[in-house]
Subunit: 467 residues, 2 copies
């Protein structure tokens, strides 16, 4: 790894003040991972600007010296997107954590990029509003990180992913220029650069301020938990619910291995450990309609062979039903020291077949797979547990992981549902893009980042790779 | 205007067959407008490919000879976007009108770009599904045109605009290469080029095939029509409805001049001609909840001073209540020979003030303005009626129109809500974009269209224009 040109640190200190430039190797270790354990890689320095003006200065310093700039939210991205894969300086957003404006009448808010997802909803709550996209990491992840990854969450089946709620972005381009894309209540005119920037994984610049649309907190919710003997039965219940024309806010499945992990952990949620799968179904909206939807869901689940359907009668019971789903990733820590959190999508109708084949792949590689997934969207998380100190097992995890990706693509799906391509999956991009298509993607990146210094080594495979 | 290089017509004929290349000046007149009467300009030729392969060949011929390519849907865009402003060949999509696949289980369809909006919903209807975005021109406009303009419609308050429903695009690039952006049930991985292409107004290439998400037809609807003495009262009712946390599927206002035009036309809908404004409110969803929502809406309207609230009790009555809104543009033809259909947005809370100022502007220029608007979205259509044979009046229309645009931008809005920038509004782009931002837009266009031959003279102002 190259060392930084000597002028960089002093100039960064001049830009943001001496307290907010980190170069001590011990302190840099905090920034060596993004909750994805496959890579650990510390940057050469970390800089923490407090606003757009400082972020602009920082970008200009790095640009002038030809040093890579790696934007970083809370580091919960799970695909290596916030790591300095080709060296350089991480621009952390933790100080840009101010909510600049909540405008209840127009149902909008303007926040700095480092605001935590839940803090935004808390700020909107007094007005009966919330920010709808709710990734499972919502208590830790930032709005800026959500923008970078176009994050989903359990409720995106009904409410859609991050891009639906972003109306404007203040962006520091890699050369230090600050521009507005959309924003100030405006729809994008011209070309939709807001939509393009959302999901660009830090490769186009740093979004320092984010304007979002808020939506009313639903008047009421109904939450159900159905227990099935097999994963296949749970899948059939999902198909029945969707075919009945119901639109749940959430439709989430956890499989047998996940249930076992949860119930053996401090997060024990009372899911039966001999079950094959549990399905969480939630409806929200105005009170009057919910009872009918809940009843029809119970019927769908029972016809698909549910041995039990529980219903939450209070807010506490609702949280209890969700607990096994929400704490699934935390609980998997019990199964083995390391966890490869996979993320892929398949057409909803292919779910049963793909799940069966994932199970076969895990068996063949003698690995344990624990599935947690957004069933309504066909967004799978087949998670492989392992011990990275065991090199041979780690290799099997990588091989199995690749087979699972190929399987999902062959089934008409794609290589990521919500965690992004990051560093981990750029090798899979040629599975879903032709060379011509990759060239368009590269061309678009060059518009924002002609020098190739903004989050290099992410998303796009090297030129010449592909078919 | 340049003439076409002599090889172009024979090569186009070779690409699509002699019946589908139009160069007779009389026949080209059909393509000289796009329902926007401010410009009339015939192309040098029109070519009508039947599929992606033929469209690819056409694009290649034009590219090789350096001839501008102007994609055209049904020509209902209203901003001059489908006109050959710098000469060249219009690529019409009327033959690409096949519905290639309806996949009810995954709630998707794949269609050629020239399919009419309503025909897609008709094809999905046997499965209880429909295509949600419903521009007022939906019986005439095409899905490909909707993609180009990112069209909205009365129901986009609840359902969102076109971009929310487009999951994949088969695109013929200006050099003739055909690529897939997203599609085949996949979410976009990498950067969101689908989102970028939607709304790009034919400047990036020709979308020949469009994959869309379908949604269930709502189980039931409730439609109300409230009559107010003043436009301000109608605006206050809208604010009250939104503040009550209700989310109507549609919330549409027509003003006094529009009511008068409708009632004097063959579309007479029984709206009282002495009213200041009429508000159409529609809810949809499951039957159980609708009654409560309707009752709360009646209350909001009455508190805002409605002198009458009508409710549709049957499908026929629903159509009757909608008639005055849906036929508004047609009826305005009665007011004068020509109509400048304006399109702009403002934050919803600024509506009353902006409407009052639009009325002042029209008075000052001694013009008649008729307002029809999507009140829930703050999307205004202040329409100016005039007679283009009167040069002095036409000049006043242009001046007033510019003032209205400035007013909307100053109120925090933007220069187009749903009709696009096209040819008419490129001069206003510097009102909402800085030079740096325009340079990014130009850069993105160059990725797709380095030669600058794809729908030139649209959206982006000339380089050097801007502030």
């Amino acid at each position: 790894m190259n060392t930084l040109p000597p002028a960089v640190l002093p100039e960064l200190i001049e830009a943001v003040g001496p307290d907010w430039v980190i170069s001590d190797p011990d302190h840099l270790l905090v920034y060596e991972a993004d909750a994805q354990t496959a890579h650990n890689l510390a940057p050469q320095a970390v800089v923490l600007p407090s606003d757009t003006r400082e972020a602009s200065r920082v970008a200009r310093v790095l640009h002038v010296h030809g040093v890579p700039m790696v934007p970083r939210g809370a580091g919960t991205g799970l695909s290596g997107g916030a790591l300095a894969m080709e060296g350089g300086v991480v621009v952390g957003t933790s100080r840009m954590n101010r909510i600049l404006e909540v405008d209840p009448e127009n149902r909008r808010a303007l926040v700095q990029c480092g605001v935590l997802n839940t803090n935004l909803s808390d700020a909107a709550a007094p007005f009966g509003l919330h920010y709808a996209p709710d990734p499972s990491s919502q208590t830790a992840c930032t709005i800026g990180g959500n923008v970078a990854e176009n994050s989903g969450g359990p409720h995106c089946l009904k409410y859609g992913v991050t891009s639906r709620y972003i109306t404007g972005l203040r962006v520091v381009l890699p050369n230090g220029d600050a521009v507005w894309l959309g924003g100030q209540g405006r729809e994008a005119s011209g070309f939709d650069l807001v939509g393009l920037f959302v999901g660009s994984e830090g490769c186009f610049g740093l979004a320092t301020e984010v304007e979002v649309a808020l939506v009313p907190v639903p008047e009421a919710t109904r939450t159900l938990l159905a227990i099935f003997e097999t994963l296949g039965d749970a899948g059939r219940a999902v198909t029945a619910i969707i075919s009945a024309g119901l639109l749940p806010a959430a439709l989430e499945i956890v499989d047998r291995n996940t249930i076992k992990a949860v119930e053996a952990s401090i997060f024990a949620a009372g899911y039966p450990t001999d079950a094959g799968a549990a399905l969480v179904v939630e409806f929200d909206g105005i009170e009057a309609g919910l009872e009918l939807e809940a009843e029809e869901t119970v019927r769908c689940c029972e016809e698909a062979g549910a041995r039990e359907v529980r219903r939450a009668e209070s807010a506490e019971e609702r949280l209890a039903l969700w607990k096994g789903r929400k704490k699934a990733f935390g609980a998997m820590g019990r199964l083995a020291p390391d966890l490869l959190v996979q993320d892929a999508t398949v057409p909803r109708t292919r779910l049963p077949e793909v799940l069966a084949r994932i199970s076969e792949i895990a068996d063949r590689y003698e690995l344990q797979v624990a599935n947690v997934f957004h069933a309504g969207d066909g967004n799978l998380h087949p998670n492989l547990v392992f011990d990275r100190r065991d090199g041979e097992e780690t290799r099997r995890v990588e091989e199995a992981s690749k087979e699972i990706m190929l399987l999902c693509v062959e089934a008409g799906g794609t290589i990521t549902g919500e965690h992004g391509v990051g560093a981990d999956k750029r090798k899979y991009m040629p599975l879903v893009f032709s060379n011509k298509e990759l060239e368009v993607l590269r061309g678009v990146k060059r518009v924002f980042d002609p020098a190739g210094l903004c989050n290099p080594g992410k998303v796009l495979p090297e030129s010449g790779v592909g078919s």
